[in-house]
Amino acid sequence: MAKARAIVKRRKSVQNIRKITRTMELIATARFKKALDRATAAEAYTRKIAELVADLSATAQEVTHPLLEVREPAKKSLLLMLTSNRGLAGGYNGNVIRVATRTLQDYATDGQTIRLEVSGKRGLAYCRFRGLPTDAGYLQFEDRPQFDEVEILANNYIRMFLNGEIDRVDVAYTRFISAARQEAVVQTLLPMSAAQASQATESVRQARPASSAESKGGKDRVPYEFVPDAESILEEIVPVSFKVRLFKCFLDAAVSEQISRMVAMRGATENADDMIKSLTMLYNRARQAQITRELAEIIGGAAALE
């Protein structure tokens, strides 16, 4: 009897865990939809900026902006690592941390001074564990990154870059390619290349090629009047474009986090299902064995009385 009851107890606890992982999956699904909606809503802006840049660069030949200045070789680099505040998201944090560590190692062998900034509890915990010194940690970015908050960071980076405190800004984050594919990447945001400025929306475009493919090409040149003039507007667009790209990194990271949590929790639920099945089988066997044993005892007892 003891064994059967122990199995029942274990099965119950697995059932409870299954309930929890299933709920987490549903929550992650809902959050993912919201995050994706936000990301698509934000796309309108980047698309428009890209359109403007395309229109402007047809008129303005040369753009000079301090943010476009490439300093070779880069001496001081800043790496921003975007991880999540919560765990149970499968390989999400591990992947980002892996690519970030690789980059850090590369920089270290180049002899660069590194400024490491980390967003998310998970990444911070990792750095503490490994004894990596972090120069700044952010915990305020949840699954709804606000542009205002990101802009503060962006302004800081711009100031540091202009003052020469840093020569480049890299972001390690999980790029959202499609609902089935996300990829941990390290992307260089500063110095920007003029081409990047116009391609802020590239990855989103690939995800939905039909909607915006024709928006750029194929149109006749519109005779714009520029106020004040094309060059100075382009110069003004450069920092905006940087901010938007940084914001997009945060949005992508938020969407990817929810997806990987969803996938991880779906896996956990399925595993719990399998476990419940095998535990039920074990329990039934134990119960049968017990009944057989009791029957044998009764029969044995009756035979002894005769």
């Binding site: 934000a42 802006y45 900026i49 403007l52 542009f147 205002d148 003052n163 928006s215």
Partner: protein, 152 residues
């Protein structure tokens, strides 16, 4: 949203406008987070970097840099007012697109907060050209906000 409408108009429609879309302009306000406002209006006033610019239907194409100030749209006598925090404006085929970091309805502006912001910005001691630029911008922004908030 806006691109869908864009494609409805043929490019370079400055002549055919009158028949096609009536005497209306589509005004779209886009922030990095979302499309805030997308409506058909009769008149738009933009806060360009060097002053206000009014736009009526049939305006020739234009791209302009925005300053800090008030964006007004008028539809059948009702006026909507937003405070716009810099950015860019594009006018084409009777579509006015405003790209800005922030657009706040004027009614939601906080006069007291803007005043303290202005004080803080004025009190800054800039060291170097970059910080001086930042200070000038912050002062301009706060005073534009106060101007817009007072106008209610």
């Amino acid at each position: 949203m806006s691109t869908a409408v864009d494609t409805d108009f043929t490019p370079a429609t400055t002549k055919g406008d009158g028949k096609k879309s009536g005497h209306r302009i589509q005004c779209v306000v886009v922030t990095p987070e979302r499309t805030l406002f997308d409506e058909v209006v009769e008149f738009v006033a933009l806060p360009l970097f060097d002053g206000e610019l009014g736009i009526l239907p049939g305006r020739s194409p234009m791209i302009g840099r925005l300053g800090f100030g008030e964006l007004r749209t008028t539809t059948q006598g009702t006026t909507r007012r937003y405070f716009v925090d810099g950015g860019f404006a594009q006018v084409r085929d009777n579509v006015v697109t405003i790209l800005t970091n922030r657009a706040i309805p004027v009614a939601a502006l906080d006069l007291a907060a803007a005043s303290t912001e202005l004080e803080a910005a004025r009190a800054r001691k800039p060291a170097g050209r970059i910080e001086l630029d930042e200070k000038t911008r912050a002062v301009e922004r706060a005073s534009a906000m106060i101007r817009a908030a007072r106008k209610i």
